[in-house]
């Protein structure tokens, strides 16, 4: 399993962002360093959820926002290594909608926010064939284990053992 290093300070910032925007989804960029055998989040770049039609269960970031995040990362000698968002009143499991809108390589951190309180946080990576997300270990552990793979109603376990 791949690993992403997330300090408690960064994890706290993600949780706080999720609580701040509840019951809407929060989102932002993970700025950090990626090497062959390690990946570390060094800073966050908070973004505004552009989905004003259904912000409780969707988030969207424009390509201009993405370019801003890229520039912010470069200024700090970092790169955008992934994205985070919250799932208000829902587990930290990627949805089919998440899968359709993802690329491999990026880390996708999801924080579950139940009744306004941030809880489980998990990180995911899309497989190269786009068929499923695989979990990425968050180090040190920050309640990183998903509650249950079956917990997401719009998520189907596949016979290959992954999530589709």
């Amino acid at each position: 399993m791949e690993t992403i290093d997330v300090s408690e300070n960064i994890a706290s910032q993600i949780r706080a962002h999720g609580a701040e925007t509840y019951p809407h989804e929060c989102c932002g960029a993970l700025l950090g360093l990626d090497a062959e055998n390690s990946r570390e989040v060094r800073a966050l770049h908070k973004l505004v959820n552009r989905r004003d039609d259904s912000p409780r269960n969707r988030f969207s970031v424009t390509s201009d926002d993405v370019r801003d995040a890229d520039r912010a990362a470069q200024k700090s000698g970092l790169e955008v290594i992934g994205w985070y968002h919250s799932h208000p009143d829902h587990p930290a499991l990627p949805s089919e909608f998440d899968r359709e809108h993802a690329w491999p390589w990026y880390s996708y951190i999801i924080v579950s926010v139940m009744d306004g309180k941030p809880g489980t946080m998990a990180s995911w990576r899309l497989t190269d064939d786009r068929l499923r997300f695989t979990p990425e270990k968050i180090s040190p552990e920050v309640s990183a284990e998903p509650e249950s793979r079956e917990a997401s109603s719009n998520f189907n376990a596949t016979s290959s053992g992954g999530l589709k």
Binding site: E25, C27, D34, R51, S54, N57, R58, F59, S60, V61, T62, S63, D65, V66, R67, E79, V80, W83, H85, H87, P88, H90, P94, S95, F97, D98, H101, A102, W103, P104, W105, Y106, Y108, D128, D129, R130, S152, N154
Partner: protein, 92 residues
Amino acid sequence: MPVNVMIPTPLRPFVGKKSAIELKAATVGEALRVLTTEFADLRKHLYTDEGKIRSFVNVYVNDEDIRYLEKENTPLKDGDTVSIVPSIAGGR
């Protein structure tokens, strides 16, 4: 006409880890077709199974979003830079 297609980091593993690919194309659509013909594993990350550019994949020509130009028919000239930029979306 040689143009440069800038490859975002997540897609570099599918183009031999290169950050830019030089190719000849008269339009943006042709440039992406040439690119995904040469690097077939890239195709599914840019196009849907129906052959349309994925909704979250955005293309710029020299800093101009092709949605405000002629989309995939946007003409290219020598030395143009084509950038592929995702927009990020998700939710439960």
